[in-house]
């Protein structure tokens, strides 16, 4: 069921002598994970609808190296980083948007020293920019009055102090934004960061995603909003663990906006 998504690649753009306004860094989760692909598509629908000139690297994209670096493999990280930087610099990328806070953090903070200087924004920041410039209209509709709680991804929040953009977008949906007891700088991790996503947790008495989902459920939400494909997975599992998946949806901010726009 192919939708009519317009997704130019940098190579295609270059062949036509064009430079897009922004490069969309899809990330591994956004490219391969079934759940995260829906987020990618939702974001692309918004970009298409707002006539944003963007392009992806497509098959020229590779892992930023974040999970390798956080697992301690600096060699692998820097190899990935330098290969990606060669590609990005060859296309003269200036501005990068990504829906993954881990890619966002790595591209923004760890690539410059290795020769990759770009303006890097998270997709919630980019959507907020579009909104502020009048290029994106958000109307309540679907989510009007609904209780939505936002889970701060560590690599967006604490790591890079981005707290307001996702919240501003939720409020634009005329939804009731309810904060968890631990939010913003005090937010609790979903349990996936630092390469935990790719291994079993150490022995303990609870899984971190269950602990965090409990925080979210306390707010009696109809939707748990996330801004990270990994948090999304962890919280979705947490909701299922509590057998609440019929009542509570875990959705990315991009999905909320795309749904509200009926895209």
């Amino acid at each position: 069921m192919a939708e009519n998504l317009i997704v130019p690649t940098m190579a295609e753009m270059l062949a036509q002598g064009q430079q897009p306004e922004v490069l969309f860094w899809v990330g591994c989760a956004g490219s391969f994970d079934d759940r995260a692909k829906r987020i990618t598509k939702a974001f692309v629908k918004i970009l298409n609808n707002a006539n944003v000139s963007f392009a992806v690297l497509g098959t020229e994209e590779s892992c930023t190296g974040d999970p390798a670096k956080r697992a301690g493999n600096e060699f692998l990280f820097q190899m990935q980083a330098m290969m990606n930087i060669q590609v990005l610099n060859a296309y003269e990328a200036k501005k990068i948007v990504t829906a993954c806070p881990h890619c966002f953090n790595t591209l923004k903070n760890e690539y410059p020293e290795l020769g990759g200087h770009y303006q890097v924004v998270h997709h919630t920041q980019f959507l907020k920019e579009l909104l502020d410039n009048g290029r994106l209209k958000i109307e309540g509709g679907t989510y009007k009055g609904k209780r939505i709680t936002f889970h701060d991804p560590c690599y967006l929040g604490r790591a890079n102090s981005v707290y307001e953009a996702p919240r501003d977008l939720i409020q634009k949906l005329d939804a009731e934004l309810v904060e968890m007891k631990r939010s913003k700088a005090n937010g609790l991790c979903c349990g996936a960061g630092g390469a935990q996503m790719f291994k079993e947790p150490e022995a303990g008495n609870k899984d971190i995603n269950i602990e965090r989902t409990d925080d979210a459920l306390e707010t009696k939400p109809e939707v748990i909003a996330a801004g990270c494909p990994f948090c999304n997975t962890m919280l979705t599992d947490g909701v299922k663990h509590n057998h609440k998946e019929a009542d509570i949806k875990v959705l990315d901010i991009a999905e909320l906006i795309a749904n509200a726009q009926d895209l």
């Binding site: 990618t40 098959t59 903070n109």
Partner: protein, 441 residues
């Protein structure tokens, strides 16, 4: 003969500060065992951090009860120590309340010291109760079993004794002033201690003079002992919080440093013109330094300063997602272990004329286990929480680097993830050529 007392005082003072200076030297030597890291940039942001976070206690008040009580003790400590100047001059020159000539201002000072002393006492009692009666989670935590828990209480007892001596000393002085005893000039105001002074009623003047002198001596000697206790305790934070906040990492918390030694290797690998068989350039560094850290000497000096600065408050551990869910990782323990190992290495140097004799121990495994290191989600909650900008995360990352790059000792599933990234550019086994398939699915 009275000058003998002054000489005795001078000797005590010299011993007190002298012994402290020796330990400070050790402290500096131990911190300098760390690898070099440049933190001389951006001094205005660094001063600002120090003023806000250390002097201004901005991160303490995130937890309002502890924060407020801590500010009472902190302000009390700093301000009451102004009195120390007078005590030292009086002690050296045989004067009594040498600043009395300040008149009304002097009364104001002494009066404020007394009120602060009472507030400090109240706060210290509350802190003691939080540890010993309420047994708050972060204080009941097994990290503190044994010496650290006692250390915390000793510090509180010390503060109670010092503040009490200060008030008793003033109470006796006030009583003697009222009695018009020679040498005890009318000076100062005693909003608190004048309530205490009636306990001396009925004693003869000589006895009260003796008591006043005893309190005075015990107070200054107590301060000197406390000063020297700092090095052996978690209480060093009262001094090290300042350099620690100054030298703290200014980058976004998400940024983990890129190892330069690795950058060189990778650049060489990717340079098509590089000659893989070339002899190293003359003067080039010899064998590359070890990747990551397995012992304290592999950490940088700021990480070691962090370890000495930690006062074991446990805010990091109480906010750590791994620790909250029962895993062994405790960021506070990472800092305590680093300090304890550093001290051990320092004692080794002392015992062997400044040369480290291998002791078949290391920070990794003997202090910090792999299980602890692998439980970290790198969420930065510990870094965010620390009231003096310590980063337990940076030590965890450096130790993971050692495990992976020097020992290939990552958990199996992480090795699989890394192999996937190497082979197909994603942490899962998907072909890089399929990266855009989502578009048409």
């Amino acid at each position: 003969m009275s000058f003998l007392v002054n000489i005795f005082f001078a000797i005590i003072l010299t011993l007190g500060f002298g012994y402290f200076a020796i330990n400070v030297k050790k402290l500096v030597r131990n911190i300098n065992m760390g690898r070099d890291v440049n933190r001389s940039d951006n001094s205005s942001a660094r001063w600002n951090n120090m003023l806000m976070v250390a002097l201004g206690q901005s991160k303490m008040v995130k937890r309002p009860v502890a924060g407020f009580m801590h500010i009472l003790i902190y302000v009390g400590f700093v301000i009451i120590n102004l009195e120390l100047l007078e005590i030292i001059i009086d002690g050296l020159f045989g004067t009594h309340r040498v600043f009395a000539f300040l008149g009304g201002f002097y009364s104001f000072l002494i009066g404020s010291f007394e009120i602060l002393a009472v507030l400090v006492l109240v706060a210290v009692v509350v802190f003691w109760a939080r540890r010993n009666v309420l047994k708050l989670g972060r204080f009941a935590n097994p990290d503190l079993n044994g010496k650290p828990r006692k250390d915390a209480n000793y510090i509180l007892y010390f503060e109670i004794v010092l503040m009490s001596l200060f008030l008793l000393m003033n109470a006796a002085d006030f009583w003697l002033q009222q009695a018009g005893v020679e040498h005890y000039i009318q000076a100062g105001s005693f909003p608190i201690s004048h309530f205490i002074s009636p306990v001396f009623n009925g004693l003869n003047e000589g006895t009260v003079v003796m008591l006043e002198r005893t309190f005075w001596w015990m107070h200054i000697v107590g301060i000197l002992i406390f000063l020297n206790y700092l090095y052996y305790s978690k209480h060093l934070h009262i001094l090290l919080a300042f350099p620690n906040t100054y030298y703290a990492d200014l980058n976004a918390k998400g940024k983990i440093d890129n190892l330069e030694s690795v950058t060189k290797e990778v650049q060489l690998m990717m340079d098509p013109n590089a000659d893989p068989f070339a002899a190293p350039a003359p003067g080039a560094d010899e064998a590359p330094a070890k990747f990551g850290a397995s012992d304290v000497m592999d950490l940088n000096w700021v990480q070691l300063l962090n370890a000495y600065t930690c006062t074991e408050c446990g805010r990091c551990t109480s906010s750590c997602p791994a620790n909250q869910t029962g895993k062994k990782l405790s960021p506070r323990k990472i800092m305590m272990d680093t300090r304890d190992r550093l001290e051990e290495v320092g004692r080794n140097l002392d015992a062997n004329k400044g040369v480290f004799v291998p002791d078949n121990k290391s920070l990794l495994n003997d202090y910090i286990t792999q299980e602890e290191l692998w439980a970290c989600t790198s969420c930065n909650a510990c870094v965010e929480e620390c009231p003096v900008n310590i980063s337990p995360l940076s030590i965890i990352m450096d130790m993971r680097r050692y495990l992976v790059m020097e020992q290939s000792a990552a958990p199996q599933s992480l090795n699989a993830m890394m192999t996937n990234i190497e082979n197909n550019g994603a942490p899962w086994q998907y072909n890089q050529m399929d990266r855009l398939n989502w578009k048409s699915e």
